[in-house]
Amino acid sequence: MKAYWSVLKLRLLRGLQYRTAALAGVATQFFFGFVFITIFEAFYSHAAEQPPMSLKELVSYIWLQQSFLVFITLWIRDNELFQLITTGNVAYELCRPCGFYEFWYAKLLAQRLSGALLRCFPILIVAFIVPHPYRMTLPPSPSAFALFLLALMLGLLLLLAVSMLIYISVFVTMSPMGSLLMFVVIGEFFSGKIIPIPLMPAWLQTVASALPFRWTADFPFRVYSGHIPADEALLGLLAQTGWLIVIVWLGKVALGKALRRVVIQGG
Protein backbone atom coordinates (compact mmCIF):
# COMPACT_ATOMS: atom_id res chain seq x y z
CA MET A 1 0.00 0.00 0.00
CA LYS A 2 2.86 2.33 0.88
CA ALA A 3 4.42 1.88 -2.55
CA TYR A 4 1.21 2.91 -4.32
CA TRP A 5 0.88 5.86 -2.00
CA SER A 6 4.32 7.16 -2.89
CA VAL A 7 3.68 6.60 -6.61
CA LEU A 8 0.56 8.70 -6.20
CA LYS A 9 2.45 11.44 -4.36
CA LEU A 10 5.34 11.61 -6.82
CA ARG A 11 3.10 11.66 -9.85
CA LEU A 12 0.93 14.32 -8.24
CA LEU A 13 3.94 16.57 -7.75
CA ARG A 14 5.05 15.93 -11.30
CA GLY A 15 1.61 16.70 -12.68
CA LEU A 16 1.50 19.99 -10.80
CA GLN A 17 4.50 21.24 -12.78
CA TYR A 18 2.57 21.69 -16.02
CA ARG A 19 1.01 25.02 -15.15
CA THR A 20 1.00 26.66 -18.55
CA ALA A 21 -0.74 23.66 -20.06
CA ALA A 22 -3.37 23.98 -17.36
CA LEU A 23 -3.79 27.66 -18.12
CA ALA A 24 -4.56 26.90 -21.75
CA GLY A 25 -7.05 24.29 -20.55
CA VAL A 26 -8.72 26.83 -18.27
CA ALA A 27 -9.18 29.27 -21.15
CA THR A 28 -10.74 26.56 -23.31
CA GLN A 29 -13.07 25.48 -20.53
CA PHE A 30 -14.26 29.05 -19.95
CA PHE A 31 -15.11 29.37 -23.58
CA PHE A 32 -17.02 26.08 -23.63
CA GLY A 33 -18.79 26.92 -20.39
CA PHE A 34 -20.08 30.20 -21.81
CA VAL A 35 -21.12 28.64 -25.10
CA PHE A 36 -23.04 25.79 -23.45
CA ILE A 37 -24.80 28.09 -21.01
CA THR A 38 -25.75 30.46 -23.84
CA ILE A 39 -27.23 27.58 -25.83
CA PHE A 40 -29.23 26.24 -22.90
CA GLU A 41 -30.33 29.72 -21.91
CA ALA A 42 -31.71 30.22 -25.42
CA PHE A 43 -33.55 26.92 -25.21
CA TYR A 44 -34.95 27.72 -21.76
CA SER A 45 -36.17 31.19 -22.70
CA HIS A 46 -38.78 29.70 -25.04
CA ALA A 47 -39.61 26.53 -23.17
CA ALA A 48 -43.30 25.71 -23.54
CA GLU A 49 -43.41 23.72 -20.30
CA GLN A 50 -41.29 23.74 -17.17
CA PRO A 51 -38.16 21.67 -17.93
CA PRO A 52 -37.21 19.00 -15.34
CA MET A 53 -34.16 21.00 -14.32
CA SER A 54 -34.07 24.72 -13.57
CA LEU A 55 -31.64 26.98 -15.39
CA LYS A 56 -29.90 27.74 -12.08
CA GLU A 57 -29.23 24.05 -11.53
CA LEU A 58 -28.11 23.65 -15.11
CA VAL A 59 -25.62 26.53 -14.88
CA SER A 60 -23.97 24.96 -11.81
CA TYR A 61 -23.99 21.63 -13.67
CA ILE A 62 -22.15 23.08 -16.64
CA TRP A 63 -19.58 25.03 -14.65
CA LEU A 64 -18.82 21.99 -12.52
CA GLN A 65 -18.55 19.91 -15.67
CA GLN A 66 -16.03 22.36 -17.11
CA SER A 67 -13.96 22.77 -13.95
CA PHE A 68 -13.77 19.05 -13.24
CA LEU A 69 -13.43 18.02 -16.87
CA VAL A 70 -10.26 16.11 -16.04
CA PHE A 71 -12.26 13.97 -13.61
CA ILE A 72 -15.00 13.02 -16.01
CA THR A 73 -13.56 12.57 -19.50
CA LEU A 74 -12.65 9.12 -20.67
CA TRP A 75 -10.87 10.75 -23.58
CA ILE A 76 -7.84 11.69 -21.48
CA ARG A 77 -5.49 8.77 -21.66
CA ASP A 78 -1.92 7.90 -20.93
CA ASN A 79 -0.29 7.06 -24.24
CA GLU A 80 2.73 5.81 -22.34
CA LEU A 81 0.75 2.85 -21.08
CA PHE A 82 -0.65 2.08 -24.54
CA GLN A 83 2.86 2.10 -25.94
CA LEU A 84 4.17 -0.11 -23.15
CA ILE A 85 1.55 -2.70 -23.99
CA THR A 86 1.83 -2.63 -27.78
CA THR A 87 5.65 -2.60 -27.83
CA GLY A 88 6.00 -5.34 -25.23
CA ASN A 89 7.87 -3.13 -22.80
CA VAL A 90 5.11 -3.93 -20.37
CA ALA A 91 7.38 -6.83 -19.39
CA TYR A 92 9.41 -4.39 -17.28
CA GLU A 93 6.28 -3.27 -15.53
CA LEU A 94 5.36 -6.85 -14.77
CA CYS A 95 8.76 -7.40 -13.15
CA ARG A 96 8.03 -4.81 -10.49
CA PRO A 97 7.30 -6.20 -7.05
CA CYS A 98 3.85 -4.65 -6.92
CA GLY A 99 0.47 -5.20 -8.52
CA PHE A 100 0.18 -3.99 -12.10
CA TYR A 101 -3.41 -2.87 -11.67
CA GLU A 102 -2.81 -0.95 -8.44
CA PHE A 103 0.38 0.64 -9.69
CA TRP A 104 -1.21 2.05 -12.81
CA TYR A 105 -4.39 2.97 -11.00
CA ALA A 106 -2.33 5.11 -8.61
CA LYS A 107 -0.47 6.72 -11.50
CA LEU A 108 -3.62 7.56 -13.42
CA LEU A 109 -5.31 8.82 -10.27
CA ALA A 110 -2.44 11.22 -9.62
CA GLN A 111 -2.54 12.42 -13.21
CA ARG A 112 -6.20 13.35 -12.96
CA LEU A 113 -5.98 14.80 -9.46
CA SER A 114 -3.15 17.14 -10.37
CA GLY A 115 -4.91 18.14 -13.58
CA ALA A 116 -8.09 19.04 -11.76
CA LEU A 117 -6.30 20.79 -8.87
CA LEU A 118 -4.64 23.14 -11.32
CA ARG A 119 -7.72 23.78 -13.40
CA CYS A 120 -10.78 23.84 -11.17
CA PHE A 121 -10.11 26.84 -8.92
CA PRO A 122 -9.69 29.59 -11.52
CA ILE A 123 -12.78 28.38 -13.36
CA LEU A 124 -14.88 28.14 -10.21
CA ILE A 125 -13.80 31.57 -8.94
CA VAL A 126 -14.78 33.27 -12.19
CA ALA A 127 -17.98 31.22 -12.42
CA PHE A 128 -19.05 32.79 -9.11
CA ILE A 129 -18.45 36.40 -10.17
CA VAL A 130 -19.74 36.52 -13.77
CA PRO A 131 -23.14 38.22 -14.16
CA HIS A 132 -26.48 36.44 -14.21
CA PRO A 133 -27.48 34.06 -16.01
CA TYR A 134 -23.92 32.77 -16.10
CA ARG A 135 -23.30 32.99 -12.38
CA MET A 136 -22.91 29.77 -10.49
CA THR A 137 -24.78 29.41 -7.21
CA LEU A 138 -23.74 27.92 -3.89
CA PRO A 139 -25.17 24.51 -2.97
CA PRO A 140 -28.46 24.73 -1.02
CA SER A 141 -26.96 23.35 2.19
CA PRO A 142 -23.55 22.40 3.66
CA SER A 143 -24.66 18.76 3.72
CA ALA A 144 -25.34 18.87 -0.03
CA PHE A 145 -21.81 20.19 -0.53
CA ALA A 146 -20.30 17.44 1.62
CA LEU A 147 -22.26 14.83 -0.29
CA PHE A 148 -21.11 16.40 -3.56
CA LEU A 149 -17.45 16.13 -2.58
CA LEU A 150 -17.89 12.51 -1.59
CA ALA A 151 -19.80 11.72 -4.80
CA LEU A 152 -17.19 13.50 -6.91
CA MET A 153 -14.36 11.47 -5.40
CA LEU A 154 -16.22 8.18 -5.77
CA GLY A 155 -17.08 9.20 -9.33
CA LEU A 156 -13.40 9.78 -10.07
CA LEU A 157 -12.46 6.36 -8.69
CA LEU A 158 -15.22 4.78 -10.77
CA LEU A 159 -14.12 6.58 -13.93
CA LEU A 160 -10.56 5.36 -13.41
CA ALA A 161 -11.80 1.81 -13.01
CA VAL A 162 -13.62 2.16 -16.34
CA SER A 163 -10.57 3.65 -18.03
CA MET A 164 -8.46 0.77 -16.70
CA LEU A 165 -10.80 -1.49 -18.69
CA ILE A 166 -9.82 0.41 -21.84
CA TYR A 167 -6.11 -0.14 -21.11
CA ILE A 168 -6.66 -3.81 -20.40
CA SER A 169 -8.59 -4.27 -23.64
CA VAL A 170 -5.43 -3.21 -25.51
CA PHE A 171 -3.78 -6.45 -24.35
CA VAL A 172 -6.29 -8.24 -26.56
CA THR A 173 -6.88 -5.83 -29.43
CA MET A 174 -3.33 -4.37 -29.63
CA SER A 175 -4.80 -1.15 -30.99
CA PRO A 176 -6.07 1.46 -28.56
CA MET A 177 -8.17 3.47 -30.99
CA GLY A 178 -11.08 1.07 -31.40
CA SER A 179 -11.92 0.40 -27.78
CA LEU A 180 -11.11 3.95 -26.78
CA LEU A 181 -13.52 5.39 -29.32
CA MET A 182 -16.25 2.97 -28.33
CA PHE A 183 -15.94 3.73 -24.63
CA VAL A 184 -15.67 7.44 -25.27
CA VAL A 185 -18.73 7.71 -27.52
CA ILE A 186 -20.97 5.64 -25.28
CA GLY A 187 -19.47 6.77 -21.98
CA GLU A 188 -19.56 10.47 -22.63
CA PHE A 189 -23.09 10.43 -23.96
CA PHE A 190 -24.46 8.46 -21.03
CA SER A 191 -22.55 10.45 -18.42
CA GLY A 192 -24.51 13.54 -19.44
CA LYS A 193 -21.61 15.32 -21.07
CA ILE A 194 -23.50 16.21 -24.22
CA ILE A 195 -26.88 16.92 -22.67
CA PRO A 196 -27.65 16.53 -18.96
CA ILE A 197 -29.43 13.26 -18.17
CA PRO A 198 -32.66 14.88 -16.83
CA LEU A 199 -33.15 16.56 -20.22
CA MET A 200 -33.06 13.27 -22.11
CA PRO A 201 -36.29 11.51 -23.09
CA ALA A 202 -37.57 8.99 -20.55
CA TRP A 203 -36.50 5.87 -22.42
CA LEU A 204 -32.96 7.12 -22.72
CA GLN A 205 -32.85 7.97 -19.03
CA THR A 206 -33.70 4.33 -18.29
CA VAL A 207 -30.77 3.23 -20.44
CA ALA A 208 -28.48 5.74 -18.75
CA SER A 209 -29.38 4.61 -15.24
CA ALA A 210 -28.63 1.00 -16.18
CA LEU A 211 -25.07 1.95 -17.13
CA PRO A 212 -22.26 2.98 -14.76
CA PHE A 213 -21.30 6.15 -16.65
CA ARG A 214 -23.87 8.52 -15.18
CA TRP A 215 -22.48 7.94 -11.69
CA THR A 216 -19.14 9.45 -12.71
CA ALA A 217 -20.34 12.89 -13.73
CA ASP A 218 -24.07 13.45 -13.82
CA PHE A 219 -24.72 12.27 -10.28
CA PRO A 220 -22.21 14.43 -8.32
CA PHE A 221 -23.12 17.58 -10.24
CA ARG A 222 -26.81 17.17 -9.57
CA VAL A 223 -26.13 16.51 -5.89
CA TYR A 224 -24.30 19.83 -5.74
CA SER A 225 -27.23 21.86 -7.04
CA GLY A 226 -29.69 19.99 -4.86
CA HIS A 227 -31.49 18.52 -7.85
CA ILE A 228 -30.95 15.16 -6.17
CA PRO A 229 -32.12 15.43 -2.52
CA ALA A 230 -29.91 14.22 0.33
CA ASP A 231 -31.66 10.90 1.05
CA GLU A 232 -31.56 9.94 -2.62
CA ALA A 233 -27.93 11.03 -2.79
CA LEU A 234 -27.00 8.65 0.04
CA LEU A 235 -28.51 5.77 -1.95
CA GLY A 236 -26.59 7.03 -4.96
CA LEU A 237 -23.33 6.90 -3.03
CA LEU A 238 -24.08 3.25 -2.27
CA ALA A 239 -24.74 2.60 -5.97
CA GLN A 240 -21.44 4.29 -6.85
CA THR A 241 -19.55 2.11 -4.39
CA GLY A 242 -21.29 -0.97 -5.77
CA TRP A 243 -20.35 -0.11 -9.35
CA LEU A 244 -16.81 0.69 -8.26
CA ILE A 245 -16.37 -2.72 -6.64
CA VAL A 246 -17.89 -4.52 -9.63
CA ILE A 247 -15.77 -2.72 -12.23
CA VAL A 248 -12.51 -2.98 -10.30
CA TRP A 249 -13.18 -6.70 -9.84
CA LEU A 250 -14.00 -7.05 -13.53
CA GLY A 251 -10.83 -5.21 -14.47
CA LYS A 252 -8.68 -7.40 -12.25
CA VAL A 253 -10.23 -10.61 -13.60
CA ALA A 254 -9.79 -9.41 -17.19
CA LEU A 255 -6.21 -8.36 -16.48
CA GLY A 256 -5.42 -11.73 -14.91
CA LYS A 257 -6.84 -13.50 -17.98
CA ALA A 258 -4.98 -11.22 -20.38
CA LEU A 259 -1.66 -11.56 -18.55
CA ARG A 260 -1.87 -15.33 -18.54
CA ARG A 261 -2.05 -15.28 -22.34
CA VAL A 262 0.49 -12.54 -22.89
CA VAL A 263 3.40 -13.51 -25.11
CA ILE A 264 6.37 -11.16 -25.30
CA GLN A 265 9.06 -11.95 -27.82
CA GLY A 266 12.62 -10.69 -28.01
CA GLY A 267 15.00 -9.75 -25.27
Partner: protein, 190 residues
Protein backbone atom coordinates in the same frame (compact mmCIF):
# COMPACT_ATOMS: atom_id res chain seq x y z
CA UNK B 1 0.20 20.30 -57.01
CA UNK B 2 1.20 17.12 -58.84
CA UNK B 3 3.29 16.22 -55.82
CA UNK B 4 0.34 16.79 -53.50
CA UNK B 5 -1.82 14.36 -55.48
CA UNK B 6 0.98 11.81 -55.48
CA UNK B 7 1.16 12.05 -51.69
CA UNK B 8 -2.60 11.69 -51.62
CA UNK B 9 -2.55 8.55 -53.72
CA UNK B 10 0.26 6.87 -51.78
CA UNK B 11 -1.44 7.63 -48.48
CA UNK B 12 -4.73 6.21 -49.74
CA UNK B 13 -3.05 3.05 -50.95
CA UNK B 14 -1.19 2.55 -47.68
CA UNK B 15 -4.32 3.06 -45.59
CA UNK B 16 -6.20 0.63 -47.78
CA UNK B 17 -3.71 -2.09 -46.84
CA UNK B 18 -5.51 -2.39 -43.51
CA UNK B 19 -8.97 -2.52 -44.91
CA UNK B 20 -10.85 -3.84 -41.88
CA UNK B 21 -9.19 -1.40 -39.52
CA UNK B 22 -9.89 1.42 -41.95
CA UNK B 23 -13.61 0.74 -42.15
CA UNK B 24 -13.90 0.26 -38.40
CA UNK B 25 -12.23 3.60 -37.82
CA UNK B 26 -14.49 5.20 -40.39
CA UNK B 27 -17.48 3.72 -38.56
CA UNK B 28 -16.22 5.11 -35.27
CA UNK B 29 -15.74 8.49 -36.92
CA UNK B 30 -19.34 8.25 -37.99
CA UNK B 31 -20.54 7.79 -34.43
CA UNK B 32 -18.63 10.59 -32.68
CA UNK B 33 -20.61 13.47 -34.19
CA UNK B 34 -23.63 11.21 -34.19
CA UNK B 35 -23.84 11.33 -30.40
CA UNK B 36 -23.62 15.12 -30.47
CA UNK B 37 -26.32 15.25 -33.10
CA UNK B 38 -28.49 12.91 -31.01
CA UNK B 39 -28.09 15.33 -28.11
CA UNK B 40 -29.23 18.17 -30.35
CA UNK B 41 -32.22 16.16 -31.50
CA UNK B 42 -33.32 15.34 -27.95
CA UNK B 43 -33.03 18.97 -26.89
CA UNK B 44 -35.29 20.02 -29.76
CA UNK B 45 -37.67 17.22 -28.93
CA UNK B 46 -38.00 18.63 -25.42
CA UNK B 47 -38.00 22.36 -26.17
CA UNK B 48 -39.51 22.45 -29.67
CA UNK B 49 -37.54 25.41 -30.99
CA UNK B 50 -34.55 27.63 -30.36
CA UNK B 51 -35.48 31.32 -30.47
CA UNK B 52 -37.47 30.79 -33.65
CA UNK B 53 -35.07 28.34 -35.24
CA UNK B 54 -36.55 24.97 -36.08
CA UNK B 55 -34.68 21.70 -35.70
CA UNK B 56 -34.06 21.23 -39.41
CA UNK B 57 -32.67 24.73 -39.82
CA UNK B 58 -30.16 24.06 -37.07
CA UNK B 59 -29.41 20.63 -38.54
CA UNK B 60 -28.59 22.32 -41.84
CA UNK B 61 -25.95 24.47 -40.13
CA UNK B 62 -24.66 21.43 -38.29
CA UNK B 63 -24.35 19.48 -41.54
CA UNK B 64 -22.56 22.24 -43.43
CA UNK B 65 -20.05 22.99 -40.66
CA UNK B 66 -19.36 19.35 -40.04
CA UNK B 67 -18.81 18.66 -43.68
CA UNK B 68 -16.31 21.51 -43.85
CA UNK B 69 -14.45 20.21 -40.76
CA UNK B 70 -14.26 16.67 -42.03
CA UNK B 71 -13.01 17.72 -45.45
CA UNK B 72 -10.27 19.87 -43.98
CA UNK B 73 -9.35 17.21 -41.41
CA UNK B 74 -8.97 14.71 -44.21
CA UNK B 75 -6.79 16.83 -46.50
CA UNK B 76 -4.91 19.08 -44.07
CA UNK B 77 -4.29 16.48 -41.40
CA UNK B 78 -0.54 16.90 -41.90
CA UNK B 79 -0.60 20.26 -40.18
CA UNK B 80 -2.81 19.05 -37.40
CA UNK B 81 -0.24 16.35 -36.68
CA UNK B 82 2.69 18.73 -37.14
CA UNK B 83 3.95 18.20 -33.59
CA UNK B 84 4.44 14.49 -34.29
CA UNK B 85 6.90 15.56 -36.99
CA UNK B 86 8.80 18.13 -34.96
CA UNK B 87 9.15 16.41 -31.60
CA UNK B 88 10.92 13.22 -32.73
CA UNK B 89 13.02 15.26 -35.16
CA UNK B 90 11.43 13.95 -38.33
CA UNK B 91 11.02 17.48 -39.59
CA UNK B 92 14.73 17.37 -40.49
CA UNK B 93 13.92 14.90 -43.23
CA UNK B 94 11.57 17.38 -44.85
CA UNK B 95 14.12 20.18 -44.65
CA UNK B 96 16.80 18.36 -46.63
CA UNK B 97 14.49 17.56 -49.52
CA UNK B 98 14.53 19.99 -52.44
CA UNK B 99 10.83 20.82 -52.13
CA UNK B 100 8.85 23.34 -50.07
CA UNK B 101 8.20 22.36 -46.46
CA UNK B 102 4.57 23.46 -46.57
CA UNK B 103 3.58 20.98 -49.25
CA UNK B 104 5.54 18.21 -47.59
CA UNK B 105 3.92 18.76 -44.21
CA UNK B 106 0.57 18.92 -45.93
CA UNK B 107 1.31 15.66 -47.69
CA UNK B 108 2.75 13.91 -44.63
CA UNK B 109 -0.58 12.62 -43.51
CA UNK B 110 -4.12 12.23 -44.79
CA UNK B 111 -6.86 10.84 -42.70
CA UNK B 112 -9.27 9.08 -45.02
CA UNK B 113 -11.21 7.50 -42.19
CA UNK B 114 -12.84 10.93 -41.86
CA UNK B 115 -15.00 9.68 -44.66
CA UNK B 116 -17.23 8.32 -41.88
CA UNK B 117 -17.64 11.79 -40.47
CA UNK B 118 -18.30 13.11 -43.95
CA UNK B 119 -21.01 10.49 -44.52
CA UNK B 120 -22.68 11.50 -41.28
CA UNK B 121 -22.77 15.14 -42.29
CA UNK B 122 -24.03 14.26 -45.77
CA UNK B 123 -26.90 12.34 -44.21
CA UNK B 124 -27.72 15.18 -41.80
CA UNK B 125 -27.55 17.71 -44.61
CA UNK B 126 -29.75 15.62 -46.89
CA UNK B 127 -32.27 14.97 -44.14
CA UNK B 128 -32.54 18.62 -43.17
CA UNK B 129 -32.77 19.82 -46.78
CA UNK B 130 -35.56 17.38 -47.57
CA UNK B 131 -37.50 18.74 -44.61
CA UNK B 132 -37.00 22.41 -45.36
CA UNK B 133 -39.06 24.18 -47.97
CA UNK B 134 -36.32 25.73 -50.04
CA UNK B 135 -36.88 27.07 -53.52
CA UNK B 136 -33.83 25.84 -55.34
CA UNK B 137 -32.18 28.23 -57.72
CA UNK B 138 -28.72 28.03 -59.27
CA UNK B 139 -27.57 30.75 -56.87
CA UNK B 140 -28.67 28.87 -53.81
CA UNK B 141 -26.89 25.71 -54.89
CA UNK B 142 -23.78 27.77 -55.56
CA UNK B 143 -24.01 29.36 -52.11
CA UNK B 144 -24.39 25.99 -50.42
CA UNK B 145 -21.35 24.59 -52.20
CA UNK B 146 -19.36 27.74 -51.51
CA UNK B 147 -20.27 27.61 -47.83
CA UNK B 148 -18.87 24.10 -47.55
CA UNK B 149 -15.76 24.89 -49.60
CA UNK B 150 -14.90 28.12 -47.79
CA UNK B 151 -15.67 26.49 -44.44
CA UNK B 152 -13.15 23.79 -45.25
CA UNK B 153 -10.59 26.44 -46.19
CA UNK B 154 -11.16 28.36 -42.97
CA UNK B 155 -10.66 25.24 -40.87
CA UNK B 156 -7.51 24.41 -42.81
CA UNK B 157 -6.27 27.90 -42.06
CA UNK B 158 -6.91 27.33 -38.37
CA UNK B 159 -4.99 24.05 -38.46
CA UNK B 160 -2.02 25.79 -40.02
CA UNK B 161 -2.21 28.67 -37.60
CA UNK B 162 -2.29 26.72 -34.40
CA UNK B 163 0.10 23.99 -33.77
CA UNK B 164 -0.23 21.71 -30.87
CA UNK B 165 2.77 21.31 -28.65
CA UNK B 166 3.52 17.96 -27.01
CA UNK B 167 2.05 18.73 -23.61
CA UNK B 168 -1.20 19.86 -25.14
CA UNK B 169 -0.17 23.49 -24.86
CA UNK B 170 -1.76 25.58 -27.55
CA UNK B 171 0.67 27.91 -29.17
CA UNK B 172 -0.77 30.39 -31.54
CA UNK B 173 1.99 31.04 -33.97
CA UNK B 174 2.05 32.16 -37.49
CA UNK B 175 3.04 29.20 -39.60
CA UNK B 176 5.62 31.03 -41.70
CA UNK B 177 7.57 32.53 -38.80
CA UNK B 178 7.35 29.23 -37.04
CA UNK B 179 8.76 27.37 -39.97
CA UNK B 180 11.41 29.99 -40.62
CA UNK B 181 12.69 30.02 -37.05
CA UNK B 182 12.70 26.25 -37.01
CA UNK B 183 14.67 26.15 -40.22
CA UNK B 184 17.09 28.79 -38.96
CA UNK B 185 17.62 26.96 -35.71
CA UNK B 186 18.22 23.81 -37.65
CA UNK B 187 20.80 25.44 -39.89
CA UNK B 188 22.58 26.95 -36.90
CA UNK B 189 23.09 23.58 -35.33
CA UNK B 190 24.85 22.32 -38.41
Amino acid sequence: MVLYFKYLLISLKSQMQYRASFWLLALAQFFIPFSVFAGLYFLFERFGQLKGWSFFEVALCFGIIHMAVSVSECFARGFDAFSTLVVPGDFDLLLVRPRGTVIQVLGSRFDFSRVGRLMQSVIVLGWSLSNLAVEWTAWKIAILLLMIASGALIFTGIFIWERRCPSGRLKVWNWSTCSRTAEKRWHNTR
